[in-house]
Amino acid sequence: MYELIIIGGGPAGMTAAVYAARKQLNTLLISSDIGGQGLTTWLIENYMGYQFIGGHELMQKFEEQVKQFPTTVKLEVGKTVERLSKTDGGFEIRTHNGETYQARAVILATGKSPRKLNVPGENELLGRGVTYCAICDGPIFADLKVAIIGGGNSGVEAANDMVKIAEHVYLISLTALTADRILIDKLENAGNLTVFTEHEVLEIKGESRVEGVKIRDLNSKQEKTLAVDGVFVEIGLIPNSDLAAELVAPNRLGEVQVDCGNETGVPGLFGAGDVTSVPGKQIVIAAGEGAKAALQAHHYLQRLRD
């Protein structure tokens, strides 16, 4: 049995691991990947100590730091935790391949994932024209037609990138564009862009790959199908709080509610980073919260011993 299990290998989880190691807590960090959302930012310009640094590079530095403590922190990467439950002596987690691990305390640092449209065709055509990573897959659609769903910063940023290389870009938003003015202004002179505001997506069409997207005008209720080869879904993120749902009810945003000491209300269960109710979804904040959560977990474990 571990003293502490940290679920999640992003900035919050890795920072928690370093703090736990420095407190000599016998710790398991378990995660499907190392870096989490830190990897999805191409360039970071607001992590203190670096004027700018690549997300991937910063996460590698985090990983190296965690690996300084091989005897206290065990890493299990490539494993998805599917269940978290309470036991007499603490908690048990179960992974996708049926393995179980036990600990006296748990830090949930599971971050957020891209929000889905939840329309027909979306899951079926994932990787076959539907993408949630515009910076990854954008270049594949050079000289093709794409629809970008979402009028926030990430959608409009993707549109800015794609108008340079795609044959035509459709930008589709449920509301008026909500991105920063500076990003919207950059799109002004694009001759290969059509913007549909106050439109919803009804369906992504295609057999073996994306062939079109069906949209509906929220006001006139008129429907139309745009012929496209790619659909970029950029409609924000949702907290990965399902795992905790058995033990703590999420707040109205779907986040794990924590107090200023990262406590969830369940003794021994702590939360850190973007999955929690702490405002400000930033790497520097997630890292700080991870540190706090590990220190609180240490206090908790000490009290158990006393």
């Binding site: 076959r128 659609f141 050079a142």
Partner: protein, 78 residues
């Protein structure tokens, strides 16, 4: 066993970097194609591998889309 591993990447894709690091760390030899620059490779990935996402890793008759460490290990027999 020597096999031909092809890795299709884009320069701004973090998961591609993870895939490269994984292959390097495990001593797997591969050929990398930057689909942002190399149009022929882009078409090959789309048509031969039926993939519209990076990283795409092709070897034998396998096509793995995205970076999934567990799956890669299993399919490469590492």
């Amino acid at each position: 066993m020597v096999r031909e591993v092809k890795l299709y990447t884009s320069p701004t894709c973090p998961y591609c970097k993870m895939a490269k690091k994984f292959l390097d760390d495990n001593g797997v030899k591969y050929q990398e194609f930057n689909i942002a620059e190399d149009k022929a490779a882009r078409e090959e990935m789309k048509n031969k591998c039926s993939s519209l996402a990076v990283p795409t890793i092709c070897f034998d008759d396998q096509v793995l889309v995205g970076f999934d460490e567990a799956k890669l290990k299993e399919k490469l027999g590492l």
